[in-house]
Symmetry: C2
Subunit: 376 residues, 2 copies
């Protein structure tokens, strides 16, 4: 490999080849194993299927959320995040640089990694969704935005409080307080279930099989024969082209006009499924991530982060979060026998989050435009 | 007066003086009387207090709204609009150029004109508010925007229709359809009452006294002694300064950042009164109108319209309309015993209109900024 770099007739001299891909995959696999060890050490799983242990554990997580906090639990959350982070990167690289890897191994590996990061991510997603919705309810009530750990108490408190302006204590109306309590009940239940599922997953033989494969990957990457001398750039460029094409199909002209009111169209449509108009944006979010990972492979060691790519990606994350929060508010409004005031508050909340969706599209458009204009 | 313009030592030569104000007031008074005659001819009143006649008349207006339409009724609406238009201009000019007019006469006249244009405007306001809300409900349901006269039928129809996409026929959900029907009931009732009140007003001795005063004004403007030779510009400049000061106090930096989410703060606040944050904008709307009328007095005969002033004014009208429509949706949601789905739709609608409020502020900020930058 060192020879290859010294050979002046080699057209791939100085450029990233399959060797760089192998180095990247080994590093990510090592990171995955490190996170897994940390996760096990901090009690994040590994104690078997945990059918009996899950409720107790879930209870402790609820305590954490209410502000109790444990150092170990925090580390466990960090470890799970790191696990997902490296699983996504391995999976993304297998996808983008597929022709350079053993196809059987690669095709068996990707769905397992997707299953793993999906399963591990769900609990955090429910937690973040609840926090987003409770903070929005407080904002909509004209209350000062409260730190997450005091929101719960304030919701319950203001449900009992008489109506009247007391913004510093969180002057939620009865409707907003009831909506908050309903969302909290539903999303906490979903989170608890996701937690149990994640614990079961981490104790499953399916997970152990993935972990074993990653352990092998940390030392031995199944490259194809020609991969070590193959230039990575065409495959990375193809990933970028897929991204560019998908962005080209987005309604960016509309998104660039503030207050276009597009995101709330279908806000009262009879279709209870997620907004179909969000799909292409979610797709771009995934393609942007693949592009970013491909750039990481190409520019390994180069710590410079493409700020504009990050900004665009953050806008799309916000888009996804707001889209899912809006759907959760709409879903909660379909709970039987809720009070009209609760339903009204959930309607306001839904529309608010749909406008967050629209705002995120605008932010993406602005970030992307900047990128296109000032790109070298 | 002709002499005055020829005297080269007169510092007011060629500039608008109290004479121009008198000419403007005479013209507006003549316009008022013409509109009044047309209104009486087309059956818009004049048939006495009309305690008995009002319901029948109101019924015919409801028919009109549903698409029946009568030429006479349309003319009557136009006439009422023209009446309000000249009443506002006379009232505004009395305010801005107060020192040039007989104070007793002026102070007696203004509240009467305000009462008149307020009373006459209410019916139209309720009608426009209902139309705005029904169109918004259709937009939010993902339906193609329907012309106003077919909205009612579509609302009723889709309430019976099974769920499923049929955008061209107006696929309102049950909640949206019920919300539309509720708003229609409440705002039609309010409009009918406003219509009766307007008819009573037009038949009242109070109105006849105003009309008599305007008739006198059409030939004889009670200027003060020095008014005919007084330069109007300082008083017009003072009106502009009041406008500029009020605009200076608006949160324009925030308004200029799209999706600042300010307008929906307090969206779920327990205070049922109109949003206090809208007040300063409504005030600017009135001051902008006074400034525009003062410019009309100064530049009589100059048919060039200040487009940017009009654009800013339209944004503030939209702001007012959306603010009142949002309040009507919130008010409807407080109707006892409504279904949760109805309340949810009203919540979405309220938030949608509050975002319209925010969009109107953004539009005003853009228009005003342009104005400041490119003003001579």
């Amino acid at each position: 490999m060192a020879q290859q770099h010294l050979d002046p007739t080699d057209p791939t001299a100085g450029v990233a080849t399959g060797e760089a891909l192998a180095a990247y995959l080994r590093a990510q696999a090592t990171e995955f194993l490190r996170a897994l060890r940390l996760h096990r050490k901090t009690g994040g799983g590994g104690s078997g299927p945990a059918h009996g242990g899950a409720p107790a554990r879930a209870k402790s997580r609820v305590g954490e959320y209410a502000g109790v906090g444990e150092n170990g639990a925090e580390q466990s959350v960090d470890a799970a995040r790191a696990l997902r982070r490296s699983a996504r990167r391995i999976s993304g690289s297998l996808h983008t640089f597929r022709p350079l890897l053993d196809p059987d191994w690669s095709e068996a590996m990707r769905p397992e990694l997707a299953w793993l990061s999906g399963t591990l991510g769900l609990e955090h997603a429910y937690e973040a969704r609840l926090e987003r919705l409770l903070l929005a309810l407080h904002r909509l009530s004209g209350a000062a935005v409260l730190p997450a750990q005091t929101v719960d108490a304030a919701v319950l408190e203001s449900a009992r409080a008489p109506a009247g302006p007391a913004p510093e204590r969180g002057n939620l109306t009865v409707g907003a307080a009831k909506a908050g309590a309903l969302l909290e009940r539903q999303l906490t239940l979903a989170r608890t279930r996701a937690h149990s599922t994640a614990l079961q997953a981490l104790g499953s033989s399916r997970f152990h099989a993935v972990a074993d494969k990653v352990a092998v990957l940390a030392s031995e990457v199944p490259l194809t024969l020609i991969a070590p001398s193959t230039d990575l750039r065409p495959l990375a460029a193809a990933a970028e082209e897929r991204l560019t094409a998908a962005i080209g199909a987005l309604p960016l002209v509309t998104a660039g006009h503030p207050y276009n009111a597009e995101a709330l169209v279908h806000g009262l449509s009879p279709d209870p499924s997620p907004h179909p108009q969000d799909g292409p944006w979610h797709q771009v979010r995934l393609l942007l991530r693949l592009h970013r990972y491909a750039q990481e492979v190409l520019h390994a060691g180069d710590s410079a982060v493409d700020v504009r790519l990050l900004t665009a990606g953050q806008a799309l994350n916000r888009h996804r979060d707001a889209s899912e929060a809006a759907a959760a508010a709409a879903q909660a409004a379909r709970t039987p026998r809720i009070a009209p005031a609760t339903a009204y508050a959930l309607g306001v909340l839904h529309a608010d989050q749909r406008h967050e969706v629209e705002a995120a599209r605008f932010a993406f458009q602005q970030a992307w435009q900047k990128q296109t204009v000032s790109a070298p």
